[in-house]
């Protein structure tokens, strides 16, 4: 049974260059995202994946094309309707250090999205933060800490807790594990997979490491120079046909154990 949660249709995004010409960062991208699955968007820097993510996150308008989510084209939303839409798509960034205000305590960081939408009383913040910390396997007393008092892996868990606060339908992970050590990366991926099973969250996972994608993604979209060049199932990466995908595959150093 396929249940499409988001339809990305023919997205084109052009940026004006200084000399009057334009740079086409996304050239007609169409992707169907299935509910409760992990979709990896793979490609090298400059291939347009971040431009696409910004379009999905409603941080800029596409030149043309649409993103259908909850029955509406979210690229056309304005004002309060646009703001309310942010509740349903949350994001986890590459560098958890840069993603937090260093002067805020973890409990305030985690509950800030709820405060922004007026969904929580000040008195309930601590209890809610503790509940969310528990969800991401962190000790509850982290609520009173500052983000610089913890390791990179712990900070990334806090970032995931913050993303979970609004109970979003989709979480976009932009290179969410590339700043982490392999052993820490492994535990974060395990956490993401567990949360997906428990809550049916859909992940969009932006990445350039096919070995990591193989570990836990259901579908893979390969982007190159602003276009989708190949679509694969996560367990069938070896069947790749496009030369760029093959190049990506050969760039993975397997251990040959």
């Amino acid at each position: 049974m396929s249940d499409i949660i988001m339809q990305i249709q023919d997205i084109v995004k052009e940026f004006p260059l200084g000399d009057g010409s334009t740079l086409r960062a996304c050239n007609g991208i169409s992707i169907d995202v299935e509910r409760g699955e992990t979709l990896a968007i793979v490609g090298e820097s400059g291939c347009g994946k971040s431009t696409l993510v910004k379009t999905i996150m409603n941080m800029h308008e596409p030149t043309s094309g649409s993103v259908i989510f909850r029955g509406k084209d979210i690229t056309k939303l304005k004002g309060e309707e646009k703001r309310q839409n942010y509740r349903h798509i949350q994001m986890v960034f590459q560098d958890p250090t840069a993603a937090f205000n260093p002067k805020m305590k973890v409990r305030d960081i985690i509950c800030e999205p709820l405060r922004n939408f007026g969904l929580i009383n000040k008195a309930d913040v601590d209890a809610k933060a503790r509940e969310l910390l528990q969800m991401v396997d962190l000790p509850e007393d982290f609520a009173g800490r500052y983000p610089n008092n913890m390791s990179g892996g712990q900070r990334q868990r806090v970032a995931i807790a913050r993303a979970l606060a609004l109970e979003p339908e989709i979480i976009v992970c932009d290179e969410a594990t590339s700043a982490l050590d392999v052993s820490v990366q492994d535990t974060i991926i395990e956490l993401l997979v567990r949360l997906q099973k428990e809550k049916g969250i859909t992940y969009l996972f932006i990445c350039h490491d096919l070995a990591l994608v193989h570990l836990f993604c259901h579908k893979v979209v390969v982007m190159y120079k602003g276009e989708v060049v190949e679509r694969l199932n996560g367990d069938a990466l070896a069947e790749a046909q496009h030369p760029y995908t093959k190049q990506l595959l050969s760039a993975v150093y397997n251990l040959d154990r």
Partner: protein
């Protein structure tokens, strides 16, 4: 042996406990050794000690480092200056960050060459262009005129390598030399380093958290955890038949195509 580290310990400030301790490492000419382990395990401290560039209050508190028959720990400042860049050179994680953003690549490269040799400006320029071409950078003359921000990460890394190998050092140290790069660019830089190793017999110590890269490049692998070496041996042996629990744990965490899947 080109390099021999015996029972090395490094201590910071007044901390009674050394940050790294009991590190032993032997490196023959033309050999590549990788040091793997998670952040904070002391990998970078080891190679910084080798270059005499421990930050702030860091000092070697125990052990010995012998390079090319010389005792590095007895070196004067002048000896170190002669050693660095000429005999031991370093490649950083992001070479672009190590450059002056408001000077052209050419100006910095020429300055580096003149600092370490008696070449004239013209000779140094020719040498720099030759080195850029050697690391497979297209249009080296144009690169000389570029500023660091005008180049991609992979190109900047090649510039860093070109500078590091200018004086044919016997030992090249790499501190996560490919970790900031895309996988495809990483593969190119790894091949570049292996080619330099083959053609110039340059020995290398590569610090990396990418065990796949370590396994592909090295003759020997050192696994570090919390300042101590937990495993040290031929690369194949460490990968296929790890002895330490930590090594096994680290190897199991490496995602592989065709390997385990969580979904």
């Amino acid at each position: 042996m080109l390099l021999s580290i015996k029972n090395l310990a490094v201590t910071y400030g007044n901390n009674p406990n050394p940050t790294i301790a009991g590190v032993n490492l032997d490196l023959a000419e033309g050999e590549i050794v990788s040091i793997v382990g998670e952040s904070g395990s002391g990998k970078t401290t080891v190679i910084r000690a080798l270059l005499g560039v421990l930050p702030n209050t860091g000092r070697v508190s125990e052990g010995s480092i012998t390079f090319d028959g010389k005792d590095l720990l007895a070196f004067s400042t002048k000896d170190w200056l002669d050693l660095r860049g000429n005999h031991i050179a370093m490649i950083f994680q992001d070479s672009g960050n190590m450059m002056n953003p408001i000077q052209t690549i050419g100006k910095q490269f020429v300055e580096f060459i003149q600092l370490h040799s008696t070449m004239s400006k013209q000779e140094a320029e020719a040498k720099a262009i030759e080195m850029l071409a050697l690391t497979n950078l297209p249009h080296p003359e144009a690169i000389m005129k570029s500023y660091p921000f005008e180049l991609s990460g992979g190109m900047r890394q090649r510039v860093g390598i070109a500078m590091a190998i200018t004086f044919s050092p016997k030992l090249l140290l790499g501190d996560e030399p490919t970790s900031a790069l895309d996988v495809t660019t990483q593969a190119q830089i790894v091949e570049e380093l292996l080619r330099i190793n083959r053609e110039k017999k340059t020995s290398m110590i590569i610090v990396t958290h990418n065990i796949g890269v370590a396994a592909h490049m090295s003759d020997k692998i050192v696994v570090m955890k919390q300042g101590a070496v937990v495993e040290y041996g031929p690369a194949e042996e460490v990968i296929r038949n790890p002895q330490a629990d930590y090594t096994k744990q680290l190897l199991d965490a490496v995602p592989e195509i065709g390997g385990k899947r969580y979904v």
